[in-house]
């Protein structure tokens, strides 16, 4: 079975002093797919990725990446891994070409291959115009393309991306994801961490991580279909007032205002949620219209992260 999965972990745990950043995570990530870690900041996504790269030693559990046990066999993995760090970690005072040449040398590509790969990367990631520009003077999107080019220069089998698009505009993000799908179709396994719903939705597989624990896993569609939350959309003339009332009900787990409408998550156990809410709000003299809708990924996220404090959930959204 080992051959079928790019990554397998059992009870992977990492503690920093008394704080448990990653708490017994079991994962099976198939090869050649884009797999996402979705979770709020500080949920343990980066720590997990760092353990899988061999950057951090696990406090417990075990992990196998491309058939190598980490961290024991991390050195053997180096040539097969590409890693794009959360913040830009190439050299700002070197040009695009110099940065790429440096990475090619570090991975000891042959001179012919080095030239070909740099040429290829420059074209694929639209860097041709930027070859002699210093990385420190480039925009977030340009730097991110350079980082991806550098991380894939040695054609790694496995690519780790730690919140790759947090500092990038939506158009650049879409382009970036097109490149990721190209890489995946060429057989690269990609593990990407994110707190952006639109990114998470594009992954083949998704693990929702909260407070160091894996709380839900599956394809985005599966996750949306099997969520245990009822989602209601409420059209209210005075949404603020309605929201205030809703938040007082114990079976209402979360209320979000979207324009003039309210988006409410209810306990699965609450029976006839729509009817119940309509009665409640009409009783308070509010002329509302309530209808049941399908859960989106954000609802799944909010529901499965245990309905954390609103600010946390909003931040993650």
């Amino acid at each position: 079975m080992a051959g079928d999965y790019a990554i397998e972990t059992h009870g992977l745990t990492r503690r920093f002093g008394k704080f448990t950043a990653v708490d017994g995570i079991d994962l099976r990530i198939p090869k050649g797919k884009i797999y996402g870690f979705l979770g709020p900041n500080g949920s343990g996504k980066s720590t997990t990725i760092r353990m899988l790269c061999g950057l951090l030693e696990p406090s417990g559990g075990e992990a196998t990446v491309l058939g190598h046990r980490v961290p024991q066999e991390a050195e053997a993995l180096r040539r097969k891994l590409g890693y794009m760090t959360q913040s830009f970690s190439l050299y700002g005072d070197l040009s695009t070409r110099e940065n790429l040449e440096f990475m090619a040398e570090v991975f000891t590509l042959s001179p012919a291959k080095r030239k070909a790969r740099i040429q290829e990367a420059a074209e694929r990631y639209f860097l041709t115009q930027l070859m002699s520009q210093r990385a420190g003077t480039m925009s977030g999107g340009q730097r991110q393309r350079l980082a991806l080019a550098a991380a894939t220069l040695h054609s790694p089998e496995m690519l780790f991306l730690d919140e790759p698009t947090s500092a990038v505009d939506p158009q650049s993000r879409r382009d970036f994801w097109d490149r990721l799908f190209e890489l995946a179709s060429e057989g690269t396994t990609i593990l990407v961490s994110t707190h952006l719903m639109d990114e998470a939705e594009r992954c083949h597989g998704l693990a929702i991580i909260s407070k160091g624990k894996l709380v839900a896993e599956g394809t985005p569609r599966e996750l949306m279909e099997k969520t245990d939350a009822q989602v209601l959309e409420i059209d209210a003339p005075e949404p603020q007032q309605a929201a205030k009332l809703l938040k007082q009900q114990s079976y209402v787990k979360s209320v979000t205002q979207i324009g003039t409408r309210l988006h409410a998550l209810l306990d699965k156990d609450a029976r006839d949620g729509a009817k119940q809410l309509t009665q409640l709000l009409k009783g308070a003299g509010l002329d509302v219209e309530v209808k049941e809708i399908d859960a989106n990924l954000e609802d799944v996220f909010v529901a499965s992260t245990g309905f954390q404090s609103e600010s946390e959930a909003k931040h993650a959204a």
Partner: protein, 367 residues
Amino acid sequence: MLPDSLRRARAIAAKEVRQLLRDRLTFGMIVGIPLLQVILFGYAINTDVRHLRAAVADLSNTQLSRSVVAEAAASQVVDVVDVAHSAPELEALLRDGQVSVGLYLPPDFGRRAATGAGPAAQLMVDGSDPTLLGVAQGLALMPLTARSAPRTQPSPLFEVRNFYNPERRSAVDIVPALIGVILTLTMVLFTAVAIVRERERGNLELLITTPVSTVELMAGKIGPYIGIGLIQVTIVLLLGWLLFSVPVVGSLVTLYFAALLFIAASLGLGLLISTFAQTQFQAMQLTVFTFLPSILLSGFMFPFDGMPAFARWIGECLPLTHFIRLTRGVLLRGAGLGGMWIDVWPLLAFFALTLTLAVLKFHKRLD
């Protein structure tokens, strides 16, 4: 084709040089520090103290006392800038820092001088500056000359022959030591900062996931600085020779070899610091922390033989102490490294120790 390991170390070294050339401030420091320090210290440090501000209280006011005052002034060691009328007045001038030497000639100076029993006059010296005391003691030995008190001088027991620096020029003494001081400062600082910078800017997080090993990373980081260290040695030597005619009695090859040993020891220390410091600022603080004892206890500032035993032990553990002895030996006395083995092996040992500790302490991990 080079072995992979060398290629990776070379890639890091080449990158480092490129970054150095672009970092104007650091590059300026490489050339600027030796330039400034040689000129500053070469001209400024002078142990041959002259022209001390002095006040005179001549209460005897005789021909003899006046001629003694005139003689003291003629020695150029003191410049009489003030006149006091009593011992307390003289003390007040000394206390307020108006003068650093007070010359007190008592009312019965003539009689005391004539009997020759015990000193005839008093020198009040500002002992808060120890170097002044030494100078004043020299002045105290000044005999009443034939003119002031005719007397046959006993011939001295010893005649001093000053080898290697007959003119007693401070620069001849200072410049060889400066090579070591400058290398200590720049080499330790540059390597410490070079590694910590990668950590601080997040480059290290990426580098660790590549096939680069700890040894390759350190070799690539150190390599360029060895070259820079040798350039600095050359600058100091050239300036010393041009501005202060500091001689090169021994062989230059020997000197550069000694410098190489010392650079290695300093780089080892820099690497070790880099494994402790989390930020460039911490690296700088730690460097200064090691730099001060080097300057104070190595014999560069204060005579090594004058220090108490425990300070000498600390001094013996510092690479600068041994390197200063080596440079003075090679440059001024023409000594070879074989003869100075006693100062060579501590450098080698220091390098081996710091490098081992640094490699052991530097984990190829983030935690």
